[in-house]
């Protein structure tokens, strides 16, 4: 049975549209600018760092605003945040330590 009064410390899922709209606008802006960044910064050493940061930020936006990960069960929170974090880190490792990684991954 649901308690009649919810504890004040327990945040509730949001029914507001505005935070979702702000997140969507940020996602659209980052998406539209990404191909131009690829052209403008072609060959620049830190382009992968920027791309990895954008991947992580976009994933975090979806997780925080759309899935509301901060209210979710710890297992769901950990799984989602781990998935969002692993790929940008793997990208940086591959770009900056590609030779070592290739040797390590050779059968």
């Amino acid at each position: 049975m649901k308690p009649l009064i919810q504890p004040l410390s327990q945040p509730q899922p949001s029914s507001a549209i505005a935070p979702l709209t702000h997140a969507w606008l940020a996602l659209v802006a980052l998406t539209v600018i990404s191909p131009f960044l690829g052209h403008w910064l072609h060959g620049v050493a830190w382009l992968p760092v920027l791309v990895a940061t954008i991947i992580g930020f976009k994933g975090w936006l979806i997780a925080r605003r759309f899935i509301e990960i901060e209210l979710a069960h710890p297992f769901i929170r950990r799984v989602t945040l781990a998935f969002i974090s692993i790929t940008p880190l793997a990208l940086l490792l591959t770009v900056f330590f590609g030779n070592q990684f290739a040797r390590w991954a050779t059968l």
């Binding site: 029914s15 990404s34 191909p35 690829g38 979806i62 209210l71 590609g98």
Partner: protein
């Protein structure tokens, strides 16, 4: 005579802090499996990239960045519309929630259409699964994502049908939120695929 204290069920403190499960536990089992599957596929991508860096640096230049950008915009927009559907349901606006979900479906259907035109464009420019390691990995990963997105679109259709007949209320919308969680997870995966293949040249 000794006495034994038997704890009352309500006095047992929780072993771990709990949070809510967006949707239901079943969908999060599926989403976790989906994440693990794509982590393996991304592992293949990074191993191939480490072995053939030149192929990956030049491969992105040959793909249609326009198609990749359009698919990304379709994914984030449909994800946004479905998130709005859940938020409207929580606010007690069931009809508005239905319209948001319908908009999410229409935009989501643009993904397979855009993918069809992208493949036509690829073939017209001599890009197929045997055009090199970059394109083999590209087709493998993006087709896999398309399969997952197709399941999501079928899910949207099912949830939409239930929504139309009043299957969800502000007190019980777990099915709608489960679908939304799956679609957001599929969106996150595409947001990783997009820069790996279309941006990083």
């Amino acid at each position: 005579m000794s006495t034994i204290a038997i704890p009352v069920a309500g006095e047992i403190p929780p072993a771990e802090s709990t949070g809510r499960v967006p949707g239901n536990k079943g969908i999060w089992v599926g989403i976790t499996c989906e994440f693990v599957e794509f982590l393996v596929l991304f592992g293949v991508y990074f191993v191939a990239r480490a072995h053939f860096p030149e192929s990956f640096e030049h491969g992105a230049e040959r793909l249609s960045q326009f198609s990749g950008t359009v698919i990304t915009l379709l994914m984030v927009t449909s994800s946004y519309f479905i998130a709005c559907s859940v938020a409207s349901m929580r606010a007690g606006q069931q009809r508005r929630s239905l319209y948001w979900l319908l908009a999410g479906l229409v935009v989501a259907l643009g993904y397979p259409v855009a993918k069809y035109f992208e493949i036509q464009w690829n073939l017209a420019h001599g890009i197929n699964g045997e055009s090199g390691i970059f394109f083999t990995v590209y087709y493998y990963l993006t087709f896999n994502h398309l399969v997952h997105a197709t399941w999501g679109i079928l899910g949207i259709l099912w949830v939409l049908a239930r929504h139309v007949v009043g299957g969800y209320t502000p007190d019980d919308y777990a099915g709608l939120e489960a679908l939304a969680s799956y679609w957001h997870a599929t969106d996150i995966i595409w947001l990783i695929i997009f820069p790996l293949f279309y941006v990083l040249a």
